[in-house]
Symmetry: C2
Subunit: 322 residues, 2 copies
Amino acid sequence: MSRDICVCLDFLEDHHRTQIENTAARGGMSVHFFTPDQREQALAFVPQAEVLYSNIPALLQAGRQLKWYCCCYAGVDNYCAHPELFPNDECVLTNSNVYGLTIAEHTVMAALMLLRRMPEYMDRVARHEWTGGLAIGSIHGITAVLLGTGQIGQCVAERLRALGAARIIGVNRSGRPAPGFDETHPTGELDAVLPKAELLVMAVPGTGETRHILSRERIALLPERAYVINVGRGGAVDQQALMDALNAGRIAGAALDVVEPEPLPPEHPLWETKNLLITPHVSGNLTLAYTRDRNVDSFCEELGNYIAGRPLAHAVDRTRGY
Amino acid sequence: MSRDICVCLDFLEDHHRTQIENTAARGGMSVHFFTPDQREQALAFVPQAEVLYSNIPALLQAGRQLKWYCCCYAGVDNYCAHPELFPNDECVLTNSNVYGLTIAEHTVMAALMLLRRMPEYMDRVARHEWTGGLAIGSIHGITAVLLGTGQIGQCVAERLRALGAARIIGVNRSGRPAPGFDETHPTGELDAVLPKAELLVMAVPGTGETRHILSRERIALLPERAYVINVGRGGAVDQQALMDALNAGRIAGAALDVVEPEPLPPEHPLWETKNLLITPHVSGNLTLAYTRDRNVDSFCEELGNYIAGRPLAHAVDRTRGY
């Protein structure tokens, strides 16, 4: 009986397919590739597959014999919230921790755009108005608080450090140290570090625990000069409280790449909130060649683990949510 | 007879004034401070001053006994083009090379905005449209050509390196090596390096030699995926040729912080050029506290040289223009 891998993704190039096939061949496995528009064929094939590499919940549901589902995204909150998607309790879920670089570049860009008052300058430019003079800030010398110290947080920390940030404070569930941070604190100490945050970067997974973790009360703890950047999940922010704080000038500005709901409806008040830079969930994604290459690298590395019978490095604790 | 320093600037705070006074006192000099709205008083005083620290040409013209004029800006092309502004041939002109950090942060921001298609995303967001999916690029792995390897170019190179640029090529008049560059070439070799430029950053002074240095012919040498950023002087670019290339999609995009003329008239076609990010000459400026502090530090350091009879470190060759 052949051991089959079902791959259904829209971003693969020939060299990716060869790389996956070569890795699979070393374990005597064979790979069947589908694109998302070959959904019916993929659905017909997946019941016999042992491994699925995709981002389509319906395929997972149809995979009666799956032992491993590799999701090509980093955020797998939807899968963790819906155990019925897994037709087979033994099926291990892994996510792809390869978005750090692109999300960190987005974060650096957004931080500089906020610090340098670009939303205001771009309004002027849209009106064909040539006037300068706005007081600006710098990453050099800044104190940043990063809520989330995983792969994304670490890539952000590395870049803020290189650009001269004075102090980089990490906050995570347990307070465990993470590379690139001057200090790390458990979530329980978040209230104590927020008053220091000139820049607050949020890169936490969407779980019950992180829901509205940036609450109205915590927004009130931020200094007036603070900028907030969220690249994790929209639900981590009390969005109404953030809109209120921005419109009242209680904090200096924010950049949201994730919101609630997505897609954001055209009439939503968030679009017209003061000093808010909105981007349509594009900080990560597979739009960058580097990320696509690392995604396949990461799957192949993990496939090596799978074939050798080693534990999967990016296995998700579905009850914890990440 | 007292040896007088005339300072006429709008950005000084008390600690800056104390710092200047203390430095001057060590050489037995006394400092007279004016703000630009005390122009008449400053004009009445400057004829007896030996040193002027300002950015007002009329004060320089009235300074009959000036031995040193410290301009608080980096670009002094206007002074070099107008020798009649100097009432006294012995008067040394120095500029302030303290804008590297703020201009480099602008450049990193602009590069990421272009690579990550922010002008297009911001158009969508202005229309309350939540759609992603545009193919983006990264500073990681990029080949950058920096035209100008002075303080500004070096600060840009340092940041591109930290963000993972693969190759940083410098171009300057003589081809002399500069810190942070993988290779440097004389301007005569510019045509040979332009085809390699995925990112071209221009930070050259405004001189006869740099006028339209990015000519129509040279724009044609850039690869289609190239982005151009100009933070030096507008005249360094053949603006009509750049508009043509952008509107035709011949290169991927550009960010101009300097243009011709400034202010850019509301009806100018540059405002509506495709894939062009315009900012109103704000990459440098004294809008950042760090830059203001370094400006005063730099003047005081140079004042130490002046008092000790040492050559001034930032003396400008007025015939060369920088």
